[in-house]
Symmetry: C2
Subunit: 168 residues, 2 copies
DNA sequence: CGCTAATCATTAGCACACTAACGATTGAGG
DNA sequence: CCTCAATCGTTAGTGTGCTAATGATTAGCG
């Protein structure tokens, strides 16, 4: 029965290849569009969107390591590293060796970076208003995205398991 | 009344700055994760995800101009241009001057590029299965993304109008 | 205690994605 | 006709984002 459903679900139709039907396409465009909608707002703070996310991260807790930040943002340390360098140049963060662990970095806030939080408090509300979204709508979309992320994670783990089994 | 609702909607709360509450964050992670989930599948076709979208575009209609493709994919021509060069190197597309308009380009499919469509027909179904999504779920998410895109477009137009008014 | 494996951050190399600036071609108005 | 503005594609420059490789440090295990 599950077999039949699965078979039915993956039955290929020519219409499935239409660009306009692709969820992945709609998703990437939505992501780029929403990030783009943040631009005029974040420009006032002198931040790009990825940099804004790093600052949110540090306003919640600091100092923290590069690995810690990269885990929180679901990105590779290699992506975060140059980003932090730019934030340091901008004068918002400090980068020092962690006490008691010379290989880890302690990424902290400068007074300027800490002060920026005050201006940033207005950003989420401004964006909801700009996009004409209610808190409920944001919450529902957020949940839908989290479910999608969980689905990709499950797929990645199945792939990893399959690789392990093959490698055995 | 609308004023009161709007005011209530944008009332800033400290919790709004929590990374975990940001729709934009969930959206970017979801986008990267889903694109990442395509990677093992598209690797078999020798395509990156953006390249896959260009091919979908051309399988629907070709030859077409760079401008036409960039409009269909909601991207800048400057982004598409080097992407097309790589697809040409891969042997999937041709780039020739358009008949009757020497400045436009006619981007077409090679036999190899046209043949690739057969293998690609399995991709959407494979991805639905990989992510454990039904057609209904995909449709609902797709609609939610389209609504979000429309909201950002409306915001961008308001910004443009405001600029025009200021420039007057 | 000492060696080996794991962890941490960075760099290099590739591919997007954007804005701005540029040369080439075309169209539209005088 | 003919100039001038608009359109087309490309390039340059900046900023992500990834994988792979590297050097430095630490931890774990004999």
């Amino acid at each position: 029965m599950n077999q039949r459903l699965a078979a039915a679900a993956i039955e290929a139709s020519d219409e499935d290849l239409l660009l306009e039907h692709q969820l992945c396409f709609a998703l990437t465009v939505a992501s780029r569009s929403v990030v783009g909608a943040y631009k005029p707002v974040l420009d006032k703070l002198g931040l790009t969107h990825p940099q804004y996310l790093v600052m949110l991260c540090l306003w919640e807790s600091s100092p923290r390591s590069v690995r810690d930040i990269s885990d929180a943002l679901a990105q590779e340390p290699a992506t975060i590293s140059p980003l932090l360098r730019r934030l340091e140049t901008a004068g918002y963060i400090t980068r020092a060796r962690a006490a008691g662990n010379e290989r880890a970095l302690a990424v902290g806030l400068t007074p300027s970076g800490a002060a920026l939080r005050q201006q940033a408090t207005a950003v989420p509300g401004t964006m909801m208003e700009r996009l004409g979204l209610t808190r409920d709508q944001v919450g529902q979309l957020h949940q839908a995205m989290m479910d999608l992320i969980a689905a990709t994670k499950a797929a990645a783990e199945r792939d990893a398991d399959a690789r392990d089994a093959a490698g055995t």
